[in-house]
Assembly symmetry: C2
Homo-oligomer: 329 residues x 2
């Protein structure tokens, strides 16, 4: 069922039907009414491909994520598609599996089919990204790329909150277990740590490719460094830390405090994890809005606030000697 069917039914021309349906020209109230009526009755649905051919607008957007298995990105995907649906645009999804080459490939193959991209924490270099985009509107989420609209979170600020909280409860030796070294996220978080902690006092463990495993693997070194608190690259890493610490019978937070990063629903509830919340839903929604309703110019970049959520994996620092005795005695 096409606009021609409606036109024939009503004895008007297809152009009139088109104008009535798309509200894009002068139509008498009566005919508009009639057109909408029979459109409804006939079950008409506009053919997007045809519409795209004449207008150039695709009414769809490309959502590119590094890894859907990461709950952080899964949530962004969920929120982004939800918002896009509200705005009557379909979402093509592509998971790049963290591979820059795949990323560039999917961008190339999707570029012509979409009105723009929402790029989550892309892995390719700034220049390659710009080339692959080649003028296609794009909003970058959770990474800063020069020349593009970016929506990021104040990760360094979140790190500061975490460390200030730990210091306020008596911790002096605070370790950071880092994640993958390449991502913007990773460097930002590390930078936040380095901003807060004097070079002499820093205990940095990592980088680790696998978030959870990295946490597990880092525990021995954290203990060896006699840290009383650890801030993790993300919640999964924190979970790994807690799991391993528990296995070694080191009590959290009695012997050691652990702070996660991201504020994932699953993670927080799973271990009552103290964590720095990163506003994912808001970022996803803003990205889609910016792409679809605004003009995503480089100047429109925004930095969302982060927020430390204190739960039960952090507590007062133990007396240092006591902890040490505990562990070896």
């Amino acid at each position: 069922v096409t606009i021609h069917d409606i036109a024939r039914e009503l004895g008007v021309s297809p152009s009139t039907v088109s104008r009535a349906l798309s509200e894009s020209g002068p139509v008498s109230a009566a005919t508009r009414q009639a057109v909408h009526g029979t459109a409804q009755r006939l079950g008409y649905e506009t053919n997007r491909a045809a519409r795209s051919m004449s207008t150039g607008r695709m009414h769809s957007l490309g959502l590119i994520v590094p890894d859907l298995r990461d709950p952080f990105f899964a949530e962004i995907a969920k929120d982004a598609q939800s918002r896009a649906r509200d705005l009557d645009t379909a979402v093509y999804i592509a998971d790049t599996d963290q591979d820059p080459v795949t990323e560039l490939d999917v961008m190339a193959s999707m570029r012509r089919e979409v009105d723009g991209f929402v790029m989550c924490a892309p892995r390719s270099g700034d220049a390659e990204l710009a080339t692959a985009l080649d003028g296609t509107p794009a909003v970058v989420v959770h990474r800063r790329v020069p020349g593009f609209a970016c929506i990021t979170a104040d990760l360094a600020g979140g790190m500061r909150q975490a460390i200030e909280h730990l210091r306020a409860t008596g911790h002096r030796r605070i370790a950071y277990v880092s994640g993958p070294s390449e991502s913007w996220n990773a460097t930002e978080r590390l930078r936040g740590y380095e901003l807060e902690v004097d070079p002499a006092d820093r205990i940095v463990i990592g980088p680790n490719a696998e978030a959870f495993e990295g946490g597990v693997a880092a525990v021995e070194r954290v203990l060896a460094a006699t840290a009383t608190a650890v801030v993790a690259y993300n919640d999964l890493t924190a979970l790994g830390l807690v799991a391993r610490l528990t296995a070694l019978d080191v009590k959290v937070p009695h012997d050691i405090s652990v702070v996660g990063f991201d504020g994932l629903d699953v993670a927080s509830v799973a271990r009552s994890l103290t964590s720095v919340d990163v506003p994912r839903a808001q970022a996803a929604r803003m990205a889609v809005d910016l792409l679809l309703r605004g003009e995503p110019t480089p100047e429109t970049s925004v930095v969302l606030p982060t927020q430390l959520i204190v739960r039960s994996t952090t507590g007062p620092a133990p007396d240092h000697r006591a902890v040490h005795a505990d562990r070896h005695g």
Copy 2:
């Protein structure tokens, strides 16, 4: 850059270029070579909208999931889009947030834009689903819907493996903590339990809307029922159980054994969870293949095998009195 540009460049007709590019007609080896060459050089990419208009094929598929935050579905989404990309088809994604109405809505709005649907554990009724599909090819994953190609897993068989394993290690009182009551998944798993356990011996707790929270909340009742082992609706539920048991100082698996369901990567590594693995990647891949390369007739339904993975949350049943003393003494 269109086929006309290539045609002009080479002094041939657009149709020849089209034939050469789509391998859909007789073209001399020489011209085909030439066409591909300049196509490459000019950076030609076929306009899918235009192609769709003449062929009717969209080269895209709709992937409908209940909730991307559930790692089970996130993984399916990842695997499905990966396979689809190999087959040169784009993937529209829609997260229905478990809402049957939203589900039917997105099906209606996507139906014309896709060659078919991969529907993951849909929440609508059989009849509504069929109506909304209205002839659009579809493969249903993890639910059985009469009249459609379905890819499911042998959940009852997995449940049997779990219970047999527990029995073999001395457990007699085996509880089941169920999940949401409405889904096919949920009823299948429960059915598996009921198949294995005599009515008199059954300890069923739930249903629970939220997987993890359900596990947490179920613990007191599990203990009150003096079960020595629990099979959970899924891994998240199992994690909830373990978390709460640990908090109550009930040792897993010393005092009580816990079996998860799904075999999620995160979950298994997180708690070394014994779990019934459900082949997600295979299901996703098969669904896409069936949709894109085969004919998804009702007869092509397949049931994938499940597999109990024994890790460290299960162990021999404790002496019943000893456990009881432990808990209250």
